[in-house]
Structure formats: structure tokens, C-alpha cells
């Protein structure tokens, strides 16, 4: 541990020396730009704030409308339902599993795509984006087909169910797999941007000081990407929470079994239980707010 910290410190110092000339140029530029202001900045802030507030206001108004549409009694009734309690529990667990699994895949994949130029890289880059652009129902259908396509008499789902004893389709693993398929794409995109923004010179320097690629990745790159990783988990978790189409097709919406909160909203809407649907929607909003807040606080802490 001491050795790794020393290596990291040395690499950072070396990098600081190499970039000191750039910083001086930057200081000069700042001085030139720092002339006394001739006009007010108020219009700038008004324009920027005005445009920004459109979106913020829209969200606030939507939430306010939801709150006004429902009542506290609706919340109480919704939360008292065992089906919704089960859906809540499954939602929290499945989103967390999907988000962590997405991160575990996104970190190495994002790093590889950011740092290396390998044959077929553009194909991998394109494939990663496919779950983002694919219509959700198509993604669910594709998963369903994948697990049930007979290949010379062999079928993945049958094999998993009969030989491994672990069925996927219409079971809880299908919920996670459907969430993971989409969440992971967003997490990979986030991690790639994160690694793009981290200067690789620190890793190069670490290697000149005797680190292997693996050590440079673990000791230099990963700690610097901590905030990006929090962002990736956040995006993945949020994405998994809102996932609906693929879950409906691939995992179904069996009460107490594969029903998550997004499918609860659909089921409640389907029978005209608008109050209940809105109550569940607001529960999802609160869940998301709490989780995002916690993750943001984690992300704001020291990176290493």
C-alpha cells in the first residue's frame, strides 16, 4: 500500500513538472482577459438562468401536478399493498445489482475504448451504443429470442432451467438482465468519457517507474476515475429504475415475483387506478432522489 502511494505521488509530481509551462501561459491569458468590465453581466445571467429554468420548472411543475393529483391516503394505500411492497423490494435490489454489474463491466470496457486502438474497436464502440438506440420493447424481444432460439436442438433457456436448475425467462434474473442490458450501455459511455478526460501521462509515468499496465490501471487510473464511477453507477441505477419495456417482455409482470415499480405503474394504469399509479410514480421519484443524493454525496468525497 505504501509502495503504491509513493508511486502515485511520484507520477503526479513528474506530471506537474511537465505541465508547469502550460500553466504559466494560462496565467498570462487570464491576466489579459481580466480587464475592468464595461457592461453588466445581468443580461447574461438572465438569459442563461431563464433558459435553464424552463427545464427545471417543467420538472417541478410535473411533480407538483402529481402531488396534487394524489393524496396522502393514496400513498398509504399503495404502500400497504403487499404487491407494491414486493415490487419496491425487488426494484431496489435489482437496480442495485444491475448498477454494480454495469460498473464492473463499464470500468474495463470504458478504459479499453478510451486508451487503446485495437482492431474492431469501432465495431465494439458501435455495439455498446445499440441498447441505447434500440426501442425498449425490441431489446426485450431480442433477449427473449436469445434465450429461446433453438440452435441444433439446443436452447439456452431450456439448458439453464433443466440442466443448471436456474431458469431466467419470466424470473427475477430476467429483470436484472433486462435492466443490465440498458444500464450497462450508459455506464460504459460514462466511463469512457471519464477515462478520456483523465490524462494518460500519469499512467505512462507510472509505467516508466516500473508499474505494469495492470498496476497503472489500478493505482493511477481507477482512483482518478472515482467520480466518474459514481456517475456511472448513478446513471446505471437511474436507468434501471426507469426500465419498463424490456422487463415487460422478457421478465413479464407477475405480481410478487417479477413486478418492479415501473411495471406496477403500468398495471395500475391498465385498470384505471390512476391515483395508485401516480402514488407509485412519486415513490419512484423519492427513491431516485434519495439514491442519487447519496451517490452524489459519495461522489463529492475525496477520490482516493
Amino acid at each position: 500500500m505504501v509502495q503504491s502511494l509513493v508511486t502515485q505521488q511520484l507520477a503526479t509530481q513528474q506530471l506537474a513538472k511537465m505541465s508547469s509551462s502550460d500553466e504559466r501561459i494560462g496565467d498570462d491569458q487570464v491576466k489579459r482577459l481580466g480587464q475592468p468590465r464595461q457592461r453588466s453581466d445581468v443580461p447574461f445571467f438572465l438569459a442563461m438562468g431563464g433558459l435553464s429554468s424552463c427545464f427545471i420548472l417543467l420538472i417541478v411543475l410535473m411533480l407538483a401536478a402529481d402531488v396534487m393529483f394524489t393524496s396522502f391516503a393514496d400513498f398509504r394505500i399503495a404502500l400497504a399493498k403487499p404487491e407494491i411492497q414486493a415490487a419496491f423490494k425487488l426494484t431496489v435490489m435489482s437496480c442495485t445489482v444491475a448498477a454494480i454489474a454495469s460498473l464492473l463491466v463499464a470500468v474495463p470496457l470504458g478504459y479499453l475504448l478510451s486508451r487503446y486502438r485495437f482492431p474492431g474497436r469501432w465495431i465494439v464502440d458501435t455495439l455498446v451504443d445499440i441498447p441505447i438506440v434500440l426501442p425498449p420493447l425490441v431489446l426485450g424481444l431480442s433477449l427473449l429470442i436469445l434465450f429461446h432460439l433453438p440452435i441444433f436442438g439446443w436452447e439456452l433457456e431450456r439448458w439453464l432451467r433443466d440442466d443448471v436448475g436456474f431458469g431466467v425467462t419470466y424470473q427475477w434474473p430476467a429483470v436484472i438482465l433486462a435492466q443490465f442490458s440498458v444500464s450497462c450501455a450508459f455506464a460504459v459511455r460514462t466511463m469512457r468519457v471519464t477515462f478520456d478526460q483523465i490524462d494518460p501521462r500519469a499512467e505512462d509515468v507510472a509505467r516508466t517507474l516500473g508499474c505494469t499496465r495492470g498496476q497503472a490501471f489500478l493505482i493511477i487510473a481507477v482512483p482518478q476515475a472515482a467520480r466518474g464511477m459514481v456517475a456511472a453507477v448513478t446513471v446505471a441505477w437511474a436507468r434501471a429504475l426507469g426500465e419498463f419495456g424490456p422487463i415487460l417482455v422478457f421478465a413479464g409482470a407477475t405480481r410478487m415475483r417479477t413486478e418492479v415499480l415501473s411495471t406496477t405503474v403500468f398495471l395500475e394504469l391498465s385498470v384505471g387506478e390512476l391515483n395508485s399509479a401516480v402514488a407509485v410514480s412519486l415513490i419512484m421519484v423519492m427513491m431516485a432522489a434519495i439514491v442519487l443524493l447519496v451517490l452524489r454525496l459519495l461522489g463529492a468525497g475525496p477520490a482516493t
Partner: protein
């Protein structure tokens, strides 16, 4: 180790922990699956339109309590569920929002049996109190009325509305007045509740879930009616258990009570019995053609079918003395006509022709009806009063102008053709007039001589379901089974000619044919 790596390692531990918890929950869930008292299955999967959730949940609770079989219900949009069945090949039952999806399922051979449950009628839904005073079709076209309806491409209700209104030339103006086409009727109703629309076309049954809405009935929509039916998935690994549950849902004193409570106009379903017993009366000649099909039906349904094979005259006499079978398969239409009160409507399934049976090689050189009048011949025929074959034989003799001569040689009259074949085999007869199907299994020792030029020598076999049968739906499924291509092959192998046309057969499956109407369509409560 730096904090980030510690956090990563912790998240892996959390991941594994959560997976264990989920797997544990799942196995506990499967342990709670009860044992079926019917001994058929522990759990069934039902693909159910989300709009049927309220009614189906209450039926599920009752069924699980009564029989211990767990019903796993997958809710979703009807078309999505059908696609899931098609791709995954899983599931036992399918309950879409309306029957149009069942028809698609049948076309794709995804659905094997269909049990009609209820009907829904198209109405105009408006907010309670009808603030826009919508009373007529023209009110829907007013500029101050925001009308929404489901898309004709996606929902059966609008498809039928469109067809109905196109005939009267009113569809175009209605489409023009529609501010939005939604994917289903629930979206339409939700629009009204939220206040995004003033009127919408929905099924009346849907409104039972919406206390803030009320229905306005229009003459223009009075013919727009859709059926709700429950289908058995053809690839189900446990059809007996699936049909057990389906019969429960469709029983007038079980599942249909829930449907009625939820605002549906229910069909007159069967009276619930865990193992129903059907009785079918059938002419003796039909036994070889239908017995295997009935056995297969019994096995698939897990029920019993009592078969009474006899001469049709005897069967008619039994019915007239008070015995009421659930279905009757007559040897000829004439014997169906004799019990019109019990069987007001029937469908002609097959035909069978009379032939002259002679010993192998035709030692007596018999080539026509006239030859049967030759002196010294021993001729056997069916009994005129006891069986259709005998009645038909007398008609044929009369039409052929040989009745007097041949009857002089008749040494035996039996109630069925099988008995004549037996007597031919023992050599006690030189010739017999029987159905071609009677000779189907006797080709080794008998030859069949065709009777030329007499239309009346052909018997047509009609099948009917009793109007007062408490098991009309189950009997209708037996009828459908007897009309299936597999059954047709059996009939043809036994020397019968297939009479029922494909259109009628297909129609009967969805309850539109004469048999479907008699058994199902007119039994609405």
C-alpha cells in the same frame, strides 16, 4: 489499497449478497407453491391482458384457495403477450383484452382451445354527469367536444367501430373529429379521468374500473360487440391442469360470477364440476370414426365422456323417454330432425353411402340392387325403425323400385351395420345393404358394390349440442375436436366422406357457426 478499490471490492460483495437474497426469496416463493388437489399441476402460467387484472386476481385467489394450484399471471398488452408466447413457447393460458387476439393466436397455431367468457359493448365514455351533454352521434362531432378513441390498427374496438361506421358512411367524420388515437381503451379512459378529453369510445366493461366516468349508449355503436375469451396455449406442457383452471374461470357459478361483478355481460358457462362427465349419443356406424378422437379429448381435458353407440332409432327413442345427452351425433339428418327440441341446430359433419356387401370375390355375381331380388338369396338390412341405415335402405329400395322383390329375400334386419358385417363373416348371409364405413375393416372377406344413380343412398351425419346441456361449452370443445383435421383423417380412413366445410369449422372454433351459436352465442345471461 486505495479507497476506490475498496469501494469496488465492497460493491462486488454487495452484488453477491443481493444475488443470494434474491435467490433465497425466489426459492422460498417456489416452496410455497401448494399441491394441487386435482393432482395435475402445482403451478400454471397465465398470460393476461392488464385490463383483466382486477377480475382475474379475484378468480386467482379463489382458485388457489380451493385447489392449491398456484396461478402465475403475466400481465401485459395483449399483442405483447401473444408475441411472448410465440417466441418463448411457454405459458399455459392466454387471456387477451378481446377475442381478436385469440383469432390471431389460432391462425398462428398458438392457441389450441378457446373458452368464451363474456362480451363487451362499445359505448361513449364521458365524465360523470356528462358535462358536455353528449347524447347523440352528432354530439361527438361538435367542435367543443374533444373525442379520443383507440387506434383501429391496434385495438379491436376501433377496428369494429370503423367497419360498422364505414358501412353507414359515418367513419370519416368521426375520425376527423377525433383529437387523438390511443393504443388501447384504458388510455382513452385515463384521458377522460385526467381531463384531456371530453368523450371517448370504450368497452362498457372497462368503465367498471372508472368510478368518475359514465357510459352513453348510441344506436350507431349498438352492433359493436367484442368477446372476451380464454385460450389454452397449444404448447402447454400441462393441458389438463390448464383446462381445469379454464373451466373454472368459464363456469357460470365460479369465474363468471366475478366477471359479472366487474361489469361484463357473461356467457352462460358450464356448471362447475371438477371432473365433468359428458354424454354423447352416436350412431353405431360412427364409433370407429370418432372413438379415438373422444379418447384423446378425454385425456387432454381430464374429463370423462360416456359414449352410447346404438342405432339412431333406438337413441331417438331413449331421448324421447327422457334421456338427455350433451351431444348427439346422428347417422342421418332424418334422425336429428326427430328431436328438434333437444337439438335445435346441428352441423353436417360427414357423409356415408349405402353399398351392397357381398362375400369376397362376389360368388353370387351381384352388381345392383335389382340382383338382390333374385330368388334364393339371403339378404340382411338395417332395421327401418331402429337405425338410420334401415330407414335409408327402405328409401333407396323404394326409389330404386325394388322394395317388394328385395324385401322378400331379407332374412334379417339388425339395429346396426356392424351386426350385418358379423353375419356376413359367419356366412349366414349372401349379401347385406350397409354403409361403406361398415366394410372398412372387413376388406379381407367382403367386397362392396356401389349403388349407382340413387342420391338417397347417401347418409349425412349431423352433430349437435343439446340446448339444455349444463356442459355446453365442454361439449362444444368436443365438437371442435371432432371437426379437427386429425378427426377428418379418421373419418376418411373409415370410409366416410368429409362434409363439413372449412369455413364452418373455423367459425365454430370462435363461436360464430351454427353450433357455436347454439352452444355459446345465444346463452348470454
Amino acid at each position: 489499497m486505495n479507497r476506490t478499490l475498496i469501494a469496488l471490492a465492497s460493491s462486488v460483495v454487495l452484488l453477491v449478497g443481493l444475488l443470494f437474497v434474491l435467490a433465497g426469496d425466489s426459492s422460498r416463493g417456489s416452496n410455497t407453491v401448494g399441491k394441487s388437489t386435482s393432482g395435475t399441476a402445482n403451478s400454471l402460467v397465465l398470460f393476461c391482458a392488464a385490463s383483466n387484472r382486477a377480475v382475474m386476481e379475484s378468480i386467482r385467489v379463489d382458485y388457489e384457495q380451493e385447489f392449491g394450484t398456484t396461478i402465475q399471471i403475466q400481465y401485459g398488452p395483449s399483442q405483447t403477450l401473444l408475441s411472448s408466447i410465440e417466441v418463448s413457447g411457454t405459458g399455459d393460458l392466454y387471456l387477451p383484452a378481446d377475442e381478436s387476439f385469440i383469432e390471431i393466436g389460432i391462425e398462428k397455431s398458438l392457441i389450441a382451445e378457446v373458452l368464451p367468457l363474456a362480451t363487451m359493448r362499445a359505448v361513449v365514455a364521458v365524465p360523470r354527469g356528462n358535462p358536455k351533454a353528449i347524447k347523440t352521434f352528432d354530439d361527438l362531432l361538435r367542435s367543443d367536444v374533444r373525442l379520443v378513441q383507440a387506434s383501429p390498427d391496434m385495438a379491436a374496438i376501433s377496428k369494429v367501430v370503423k367497419e360498422s361506421l364505414q358501412a353507414s358512411g359515418k367513419w370519416d367524420e368521426l375520425a376527423k373529429a377525433t383529437v387523438a388515437f390511443r393504443t388501447n381503451v384504458n388510455d382513452v379512459a385515463n384521458d377522460l379521468v385526467i381531463g384531456a378529453a371530453d368523450a371517448g369510445l370504450v368497452y362498457d366493461a372497462v368503465l367498471s374500473n372508472y368510478k368518475d366516468l359514465e357510459a352513453v349508449e348510441l344506436d350507431e355503436l349498438s352492433t359493436v360487440i367484442s368477446n372476451v375469451s380464454l385460450g389454452i396455449v397449444a404448447s402447454s406442457k400441462q393441458p389438463q391442469a390448464a383446462l381445469h383452471f379454464a373451466r373454472y374461470v368459464a363456469a357460470r357459478d365460479r369465474g363468471l360470477l366475478h366477471y359479472e361483478k366487474n361489469g361484463f355481460v357473461v356467457k352462460k358457462g358450464d356448471v362447475w364440476k371438477e371432473t365433468p362427465e359428458l354424454t354423447i349419443f352416436a350412431g353405431s356406424m360412427l364409433r370407429p370414426a370418432i372413438d379415438a378422437t373422444i379418447k384423446a379429448f378425454e385425456e387432454r381435458e381430464g374429463i370423462r365422456v360416456s359414449r352410447v353407440y346404438n342405432g339412431c332409432g333406438i337413441l331417438v327413442a331413449q331421448m324421447k323417454t327422457g334421456q338427455h345427452p350433451d351431444a348427439y351425433f346422428a347417422c342421418d339428418k332424418e334422425f336429428m330432425k326427430q328431436v328438434p327440441d333437444l337439438f335445435p341446430e346441428s352441423v353436417d359433419v360427414s357423409q356415408n353411402e349405402l353399398v351392397i356387401l357381398v362375400q369376397k370375390g362376389n360368388p353370387k355375381k351381384i352388381s345392383s340392387l335389382k340382383d338382390l331380388g333374385r330368388e334364393g338369396l339371403r339378404v340382411g338390412i338395417g332395421h327401418e325403425k331402429q337405425c338410420a341405415m334401415g330407414w335409408l335402405t327402405q328409401n333407396t329400395f323404394r326409389e330404386g323400385g325394388v322394395q317388394k322383390e328385395v324385401m322378400a329375400n331379407v332374412s334379417v334386419q339388425t339395429p346396426s351395420g356392424d351386426m350385418l358385417v358379423n353375419q356376413m363373416q359367419t356366412g349366414s348371409l349372401d349379401a347385406a345393404v350397409a354403409y361403406l364405413s361398415n366394410a372398412a375393416g372387413a376388406g379381407d372377406f367382403l367386397d362392396a358394390i356401389q349403388i349407382q344413380g340413387l342420391e338417397c343412398s347417401i347418409a349425412i351425419q349431423p352433430l349437435a349440442i343439446a340446448a339444455d346441456s349444463p356442459n355446453a361449452q365442454t361439449a362444444t370443445r368436443l365438437f371442435q375436436r371432432l371437426c379437427s383435421p386429425e378427426s377428418q383423417a379418421n373419418f376418411e380412413a373409415e370410409g366416410f366422406r368429409w362434409q363439413i366445410d372449412r369455413k364452418s369449422e373455423d367459425g365454430s372454433i370462435v363461436g360464430d357457426s351454427a353450433i357455436g351459436d347454439s352452444a355459446i352465442g345465444e346463452n348470454e345471461q
